[in-house]
């Protein structure tokens, strides 16, 4: 899923009515958001966090210092590891790690649903649907 489509989907689920237009930059087609009153924002997780604040749903970024750091850690994981996968073995190792991390958790931060869950879900969606890797778990 292209980053722009993903962000549009996120806007909808956040209940933001006015759809933003995104352009894409460079080889990896990094999304860029031109904001009305300021410089543009670049990067999937940066824009996603911005949208969450716009929708006044800051709790999706975590409520304690610890949760906030964990949310950002998994957002980084999403753009570096999940988007940066190169081989089936890599994907397999990644899914294995996630599976073992989530064994005793409901969501990535524990019990609270956050932006990290949304973006990781979007990111993993294509492997899981296309490759049916999930059957292994």
């Amino acid at each position: 899923m292209a980053a722009a489509a993903e962000l549009t989907l996120l806007e909808k689920s956040l209940g933001l009515s006015k759809g933003n237009k995104y352009s894409a930059q460079g080889e990896r087609q990094i999304p860029v958001l031109q904001t009305n009153n300021g410089p543009s924002l670049t990067g999937l997780t940066t824009i996603a966090a911005h949208l969450v604040k716009q929708a006044n749903k800051e709790y999706l970024l975590g409520s304690t210092a610890e949760e906030k750091a964990i949310v950002q850690q998994w957002l980084e994981y999403r753009v570096t590891r999940v988007d940066g996968h190169s081989s089936k073995d890599d994907i397999h190792a990644l899914l294995k790690d996630l599976n073992s991390y989530l064994e005793d958790k409901v969501y990535l931060t524990g019990y609270n649903f956050t932006l990290a869950d949304i973006l990781l879900y979007y990111g993993l969606h294509r492997f899981i649907i296309l490759e049916k890797f999930i059957h292994g778990f």
Binding site: I30, Q34, E66, E76, T80, G84, K96
Partner: protein, 908 residues
């Protein structure tokens, strides 16, 4: 909470620096673990640093740990910090880990290390200077500064890797480094050993994935869309309305072109290609084509411009080639000079002169410079021991000797290096040396040689560089190369050779010698100019009035930036020295290198047989110009860029704009009534045009091409939003709107045709003919966007500009050039070289093929040596050695020599 770190893990730097923020808010224990210890239970791969939180959860991302410490101290998250951290993780880290791997694990230096990160460093520098804030996210030091500082510190603490020209980055880095927490972290992690402290850790890490993939990138960094002020818009509108009246008269063509006092006089040279090689695409983009774009641009600015180049014809290689082809050196030069000239003509290179170095002028000027240096005491004499073949009556250059290696006893060691043990050899140390031409045994004779006393000239050179470099447009790699030469100290350079094919040395006792390429190749520019006009000194002895731009690939920098300036400064004759030295990085072919011997890659003479027009080649080569970092030619990418950028973007826009005028307005440009939206577009186009000028004035050729494509993208959007094809059928107001949009669009197309001229001269001329653009508007490019096609102007017949490249067409070209054309080109050569080679053993296979095999052997020898040096896997080494032996066997067969029987098994 407990922090796990490992000796030499770079992630410890920012984490330790940030930890000071959280001091007093939580208890922090630090444990040191081995680099391969798995601290985090759920991660398969080891990872440090890791922070174990009091509730048992883990933070395993360096940035997240730093963020946590900052959050504990009461800091609040913001968009800009998030953006920097995301950029650090996705862009900076992959580039940095490649650079550190090269530097620390592979022991590489200089551009090899700096290359991968240069773009990222430039990005930080630009962001800092654009926002004019001292720190990344504002007025105070914050999380983004610590995370980026920590990532960059291991590399940038060595000043060699902190490019001078990135001033904003420089001062930011110094400021952050001087903060106490950062200083402490740096001491703890690097232990005053510099970057080598990271080695124990990095060696244990897998090779960075950014290195396994394509390390080179053809993608530019895109600029943010600027916000416009009312003032800018008003100025753009005023300029536009003045129209053609704004244009100065066209400068009449001059012959010869000579500098004019009070004008801008631009002298442009492209590195002289060596005559007996057919240039490949990398050579073409490296100098000739890049310089051509700048020369054409310079003429569009009405600057007084002279662009020259020529073939470099003297030297051993020409003599060897002549022997191979059974021709005299002069005949070889004549033949290949013509081949070169044809190739550049086909590529539409706008030389004012394309000369050669084998002329009486070359002798005269070289000898004059030499005499001046000699009489001023800048030339040394010394004795050099060399091998001389009495039979051939000449001293043998290294490549003309073979013998037994003094180290390993290998029987076919070359005069400079043994292919078997890889040691460097002095030709005089070879046992049983043989002359490669007649196979007789040469004797050691001492020979007198002349040396340019560079150490004595070093001070003058440094003074000159100090005055020249600041504010000039020398490329960073050229500055870097010159700086490292000066750092190592200059040594006397031998400037004579025992050869016949060269410029004679005008000194008693040196009648059998000629000048070496180090001395006289760069003097070629002067002699070529002297063959063009007898007033050549008005260009070359006129530093006050002339700006000299020299284009080359980076391997040529020492000749132009150091040796020639030293000769010229020592000669004390007021020579014009290089003001802007423009050096490119290397262009690769697909995933490897161009190789004539393996028949890989596209060479100048073959490009025209592909059926792809010269302008498309020019466009793609300039689009991927190795500016700032290596880049790669890729067939698929060429297809993509042709079909997306040229066909769908640029071609589509220009064609639509012209078609609307023809179809809806009978070929006459309609009346334009500009709305505020149109005025904004005018200002955007003007801004982009000015950006194009700024870039080209700095010789950032590849980046300026992006501005052209950006304007046509604006144009396409403009047409798409305003839908003139619908409005033309609507009300009076709608029809007027359609007219304005069409008129503005066709004027943008006219502007694009001029901006495109340096890059694609034929396409530019086609567009101008289709639009019937008046001559002054075709030949001059101002910094403002003018209405050059006023209402009522009649345009010509419009037709499509570009053709789609098809997949199967490109696929078949890829196969043809991917290494398969070896036999074909050998056949061609066999046809042109009529006489059989003399001196070589006559065998079934030709000398060219022997050369090919010899190159292959050398190359394979290098691969084996490299693997051994890296202590690679035994089986891998054995496989490569087998290949080497096989190649040597083929070579022996081709040379008609008896096969070497292997002497027992190798001990190991």
């Amino acid at each position: 909470m407990r922090l796990f770190v490992s000796e030499g893990a770079p992630g410890s730097l920012p984490v330790l620096a940030a930890a000071r923020r959280a001091q007093g808010r939580a208890e922090l224990l630090i444990s040191t673990v081995g680099p391969e210890e798995c601290v985090v239970p759920f991660l398969t791969q080891p990872k440090v640093p890791v922070l174990q939180l009091d509730n048992g959860n883990y933070l395993f991302s360096t940035s997240a740990i730093c963020r946590y410490f900052f959050l504990l101290s009461g800091w609040e998250q913001d968009d800009l910090t998030n953006q920097w951290l995301e950029w650090e993780a996705t862009e900076l880290q992959p580039a940095l880990s490649a650079a550190l791997y090269y530097l620390v694990v592979q022991g590489k230096k200089g551009e090899d290390v700096l290359g991968p990160v240069r773009r990222a460093l430039t990005h930080i520098d630009h962001s800092l200077s654009r926002r004019s804030c001292p720190f990344l996210a504002g007025e105070t030091e914050s999380l983004a500064d610590i995370v980026l500082w920590g990532a960059l510190y291991p590399l940038l603490q060595d000043p060699a890797y902190l490019p001078e020209e990135l001033g904003a980055l420089h001062s930011w880095f110094q400021t952050v480094s001087s903060q106490e927490p950062c200083q402490r972290a740096a001491e703890t992690v690097l232990k005053q050993q510099g970057v080598l402290a990271l080695r124990p850790y990095l060696q244990k890490q897998p090779q960075p994935s950014s290195l396994q993939g394509r390390a080179v990138s053809n993608e530019p960094e895109e600029e943010e869309l600027a916000t416009l002020s009312e003032e800018e818009i008003a100025m753009a509108v005023t300029a536009w309305e003045k129209g053609l009246g704004n244009l100065p008269p066209l400068r009449p063509p001059q012959n010869p072109v000579l500098p004019v006092a009070g004008e801008r006089n631009v002298l442009i040279t492209s590195a002289l290609p060596y005559v007996n090689n057919v240039p490949h695409l990398g050579n073409i983009i490296g100098c000739v084509l890049s310089a051509d774009v700048f020369a054409r641009y310079s003429r569009l600015r009405q600057w007084n411009t002279l662009y020259l180049c020529g073939t470099d014809e003297y030297g051993t290689a020409t003599e060897t080639k002549a022997m191979e082809e059974g021709l005299t050196p002069q005949e070889i030069c004549d033949k290949y000079h013509a081949i070169h000239a044809d190739i550049y003509r086909w590529f539409n290179i706008s030389f004012d002169i394309f000369g050669r170095t084998t002329t009486p002028q070359q002798t005269k000027i070289t000898q004059d410079i030499f005499q001046r240096l000699f009489s001023r005491g800048f030339v040394l004499q010394d004795t050099v021991e060399q091998l001389r073949c009495e039979q051939c009556a000449r001293f043998l250059a290294d490549r003309f000797v073979e013998g037994v290696c003094p180290f390993c006893g290998y029987e076919e060691a070359r005069g400079d290096q043994c292919d078997k043990c890889g040691k460097l050899i002095n030709a005089t140390e070879l046992k049983k040396p043989q002359c490669k031409v007649c196979r007789s045994c040469p004797v050691v004779k001492s020979s007198q040689h002349l040396f340019l006393d560079l150490p004595k000239l070093e001070k003058r050179l440094e003074e000159w560089l100090e005055n020249t470099l600041p504010g000039s447009d020398w490329t960073p790699n050229a500055r870097f190369i010159i700086r490292s030469w000066l750092r190592d100290g200059l040594k006397p350079r031998c400037i004579t050779r025992d050869l016949k094919w060269g410029t004679p040395v005008p000194l008693e006792g040196f009648e059998d010698k000629v000048f070496y390429v180090w001395f006289d190749a760069t003097i070629g520019y002067l002699s070529i100019t002297a063959n063009y006009t007898d007033q050549w000194e008005r260009w070359w002895k006129n530093p006050e009035q002339v700006s000299l731009y020299q284009f080359m690939a980076k391997d040529n920098v020492p000749f132009h930036g150091l040796v020639f300036p030293c000769s010229a400064l020592g000669a004390e004759d007021n020579y014009t020295l290089v003001s802007h030295l423009i050096a490119t990085e290397y262009l690769n072919y697909e995933d490897g290198k161009f190789s004539k011997s393996r028949g890989v890659g596209v060479f100048g003479d073959m490009a025209q047989d592909t059926g792809i027009p010269a302008d498309i080649w020019r466009f793609y080569l300039l689009y991927i110009r190795p500016e700032g970092q290596d880049s790669a030619f890729s067939w698929t990418d060429m297809l993509l860029k042709n079909n997306s950028e040229l066909l769908n973007n640029l071609g589509n826009f220009i064609n639509r704009a012209g078609m609307f005028v023809s179809k809806f307005f009978g070929g006459y440009v309609p009346e334009m009534v500009l709305t505020s939206d149109d005025q904004r577009l005018l200002a955007h186009v003007t801004l982009e045009l000015q950006h194009y000028h700024q870039l080209l004035e700095k010789v950032r050729i590849r980046d300026a091409l992006r501005s052209i494509l950006t304007i046509s993208r604006h144009g396409n959007q403009y047409i798409q939003v305003n839908e003139p094809w619908k409005r033309i059928k609507g009300s009076e107001a709608d029809r007027q709107r359609a007219g304005t949009v069409t008129g503005l669009a066709v004027n943008i197309a006219a502007l694009l045709s001029v901006m495109l001229q340096p890059y694609m001269p034929t396409v530019s001329a086609t567009i101008q003919a289709q639009l019937q653009l008046p001559p002054p508007a075709c030949g001059i490019l101002l910094t403002n966007f003018l209405c050059t096609l006023p209402a009522g102007h009649l345009i010509g017949t419009v037709s499509p500009l570009f053709q789609k490249l098809e997949n199967d067409q490109i696929e078949s070209l890829r196969q043809r050039f991917g290494g398969g054309q070896l036999e074909e080109s050998l056949e061609l050569k066999a046809k042109v070289s009529s006489k059989p080679a003399v001196g070589e053993t006559v065998t079934a296979t030709g000398p060219q093929q022997i050369q090919v095999l010899m190159d292959e052997v050398t190359k394979q020898g290098n691969i084996v040596r490299e693997l051994k040096a890296q202590k690679a896997d035994k089986n891998q080494v054995a496989a490569e050695v087998a290949k080497l032996l096989d190649l040597k066997k083929q070579l022996a067969l081709a040379e008609g020599k008896p096969l070497e029987t292997p002497k027992g098994k190798k001990k190991k």
